[in-house]
Every structure is written in C-alpha cells, then in structure tokens.
Symmetry: C2
Subunit: 236 residues, 2 copies
DNA sequence: GCAAAAGTGTTAGAAGTACACCCATGA
DNA sequence: TCATGGGTGTACTTCTAACACTTTTGC
C-alpha cells in the first residue's frame, strides 16, 4: 500500500444482496494486512481515500478489489464523521496497522456508499487478507466502528430511492425472475404488503418488466413465469 | 480560530430561501479572516470541521455564526471530494490563510448540507468578515471551489426530498401564506404545473395545512385567504 | 369600470383496493 | 391425492385531469 493516502477520509461500502427472502450484507473481517489470523470483528469493506482519486473512484476500487465487479452503480448516501467513531480503540489501532500510518488517528470521516448486487455472483477472497461473507441482515453481528449504523442508514436510503425510482431494485434480482421474487423484494424494501392479484396487474403495467415464455423448472408446485427487466430508454 | 481543526474535512451549507418567485441562495464573500477587503469571489458558507464536533454540529455552527439561527433542520445531502476541488489555486490559498494552516492543503473533502429558510429573517454581518447575501439562483455568479455544483446538487436533492415528504417545504414560507405562494413553490421545486382548481382541492385534503379566517391586505385585486402549516403528529 | 389575481364544480377516465377460487407440479 | 405456491376477474372507491366563469379589490 505505497500510494499516498488521506488519513482522515475513508469510504465504506454497504454491498447489499437479496436472497429471495431477506437482505444480506457483504461483511469482511478486520485482519492484519499481511493476511494471517482472522480474529478481528466484522466490518464493512472500505478504504482510506487515495490522494489522486475522487470519492466515487475510491468506492469503486474497494468493490473491484473485493468482488472483481466494475460496472456497478455505487450510490453515495451519507457521510459519517463524529469524533466518537473511533471510540473503540481497537478500531483505530487496526486502521493504523492496516494502512501503515505513522501518526495516531484522532478522527476519520467516512463517506458511505451503497450498492445493490445479485447475490449469486462469486466473491473473490482477496490477497489483502479479506474474508468476505454474505450475512443476512437479521443475523448481522455488531460491526466495527459505527458500521452497524451505516448499514441501517443504507436500508433506509434504499427505501427512499426505490420509492422514487423502483428500477434500481432490479440489480438485486437474477436476470430472469418470477413475479413473487419481485413482489417479496418490493415488500421488504418498502415495508408494505401487496395483494397478489393486484400485484400482477401492476406488473403488467410496468413498461420495464417484460414477461418471458419460459417457466420455472423443478419446483414442486405450479411453475411460475419468468420475467426480465428492460432498461427504460429515457427518464427512469 | 484557536481550536484544533481537521484540515481535510469541511462542511458547506447551501442555505436556500424562496422569495415568492424563485429560489435564492445565501452566499458569502471569500475575505481574509481579519475582515478587510471584499474582493474575493463568492462562495457558500462553510468551515473546516473541528476535532471535537461531529459533522452536523459543524454545519449548525456555520449556520449560527452567519444567521444566529439554531433550531433549523440541516440536511446532509452529499460529500464532494475530488482532488480537483482545489484546482483554482486561489481557493486553496484562501483556505490556508483564513484558517492559519501551517501546511499546504492538497485535498479537502466537504460534506454538503442544505437548509430551507424563510428569506425574511434578518442576516447578521459577521465579525469574521462575512458579507452574506441572498442571491437568486438564476443570477448566481460562478462560485469558488465546486460550490456551483454543490448548489445544483442541493436543488436536485430538495426535489427528491419534497417528493417523499412535501412538508419540508413549509420552512420556506412565512407563517401565514396564501394558496398561490404554496403552489408556486411546489411548482418550482417539483418542476410541474398544477391546475389551479385542482390545487385548491388538493390543498383542502392536506391535513397539515389549515385555512385561516384572515386575508391578504392592501393588494390591488381580490384578497387571498391565508393558510398555516400544522406539523403532523406522527409520520411526516 | 378596468386590470389583476382569487376562487369555485362537474365530469370522465385511470388507478388503486378488496376479495375467493381453480391450476400445475413433484413428492 | 395432497401439499404447495401460481395464477386469474369483478365491483367499488379514490385520485387525477381537463375545463370557464364570477368575485373582490385598488386604482
């Protein structure tokens, strides 16, 4: 890690996936940078910001290092910067060790990003000693720093964004998905229940959702039709 | 300015007012900290973040110094942090001079806040040498740093927020306001036109807007009824 | 009395809500 | 054949959109 870094500003990424029932977050372990023992607590993937990159670039770098993905919509949603973010001394020490900082960290402001991923994509284990893991929101352990707060803020932000523009949610679904996958996803994001019949009607009116002639296979009940998402040409 | 500051992180505040026709932004002049010549270009009010305060506190401090207001909803809406923010060398030098920094500033990340104010409130001229001024958006000069971008991002953010929760807009109106004041405000935020009759119908259904028995005075046409805003008890 | 903005009702179409039963499949 | 989730239609209500004339006031 030879590049010059800004020791006061980081990005942290809330990578969200949906497994058909609930949201999952990709968390990593706080390990020393040499790889080795995985005893640290879990945290969000993140990094200090390099001097020659902007915030979006830093967030994309983190995502790419962790998953290999590059063409992903990373949404900045909030900065967290209270002096109490490092109140657990282990967190500060870990940062200093991991980034080989010379001086003591008093304060770090983080810019939080959120990204919606298909959970089936393979995750790389990083040489940097990352150990990435999808964890259901409900079973999320206490994370390092204020990362637990950041995750909750991300969920709240995604609700607002999906209300304004539901099409962002399709990043979470497989390329072919069933009506009930979409319905359950929307229900859990927006925290509502849809009537099933009415949902089908609404689905038929969504220009950006097109029914396929293909059906589910190998399920022990009537097979569901698949749909796919088609990006609207203008004005999401 | 003896407090310890974080030389890498600032807050900038987009203070918006509505004069009945258009949005105005409160801009200040880049002056030296000793007061004196007002030759600098305009910028948004802002400050580096002190080591013992969180981001919200820093933003409220800036607002209070400039206007004396304290109980105001300051909404964080985005961080700006590209390395090119200081591409105009004057901006960086001004910051160094103003804050009496010892070392050269290479990079500064700013957390942008936005706040909606009644434009009639009196603004203080600060001993710090601020010269605050409401400026209509349409006549906004090129601002220092990337502050022009920040203003546009604020306007876009307010549209999203008002779509999700129109009640934030009442901070912009006088305590008593007419139907057309509200209509023109909403039209300019949401970038739509409302049919006047339909708007009155909609107004009558807004629980949080109550008609008064009072009317305009001294206008050379039929006097308009006043309304007032009543905070909803739960769930804005 | 005239200029200027305020205020008012109806109708037609679209969208949303509530509700109960049969269908296809694998085990 | 049964358990499981998939899929369908109708009636009612609510919301939205379009549209033109009369009222009040100061000058």
């Amino acid at each position: 890690m030879s590049e010059q870094i800004n020791p006061y500003v980081s990005v942290d990424c809330v990578l969200l996936g949906f497994d058909g029932e609930q949201f999952n977050v990709l968390v990593v372990r706080q390990c020393s940078s040499g790889g080795g023992e995985s005893t640290g607590s879990y945290k969000l993937p993140g990094s200090l910001v390099y001097m020659d990159e902007n915030l979006d670039e830093a967030a994309h770098r983190v995502l790419k290092q962790l998953t290999g993905l590059t063409q992903v919509n990373m949404m900045q949603f909030r900065a967290f910067g209270g002096p109490d973010r490092l109140k657990n001394p282990e967190d500060g020490m870990w940062l200093e060790r991991f980034h080989h900082l010379e001086h003591h960290l008093e304060r770090i402001v983080t810019i939080a990003y959120m990204s919606l991923l298909r959970i089936d994509r393979k995750m790389l284990k990083l040489e940097g000693g990352y150990e990435a893991q999808w964890t259901p929101l409900a079973q999320l352990p206490k994370l390092a720093f204020d990362h637990s707060d950041i995750v909750h803020a991300a969920m709240s932000s995604i609700k607002d964004r999906a209300t304004l523009n539901p099409t962002i949610l399709f990043d979470l679904l497989p390329k072919k998905f069933t009506a009930s996958q979409l319905r359950i996803l929307m229900e859990s994001v927006l925290d509502v229940k849809f009537d099933i019949k009415n949902f089908h009607k609404k689905l038929a009116q969504m220009r950006y959702v097109v029914p396929l002639d293909e059906k589910e296979d190998g399920v022990s009940h009537r097979a569901a039709r698949y749909y796919k998402f088609r990006k609207p040409r203008k004005s999401m």
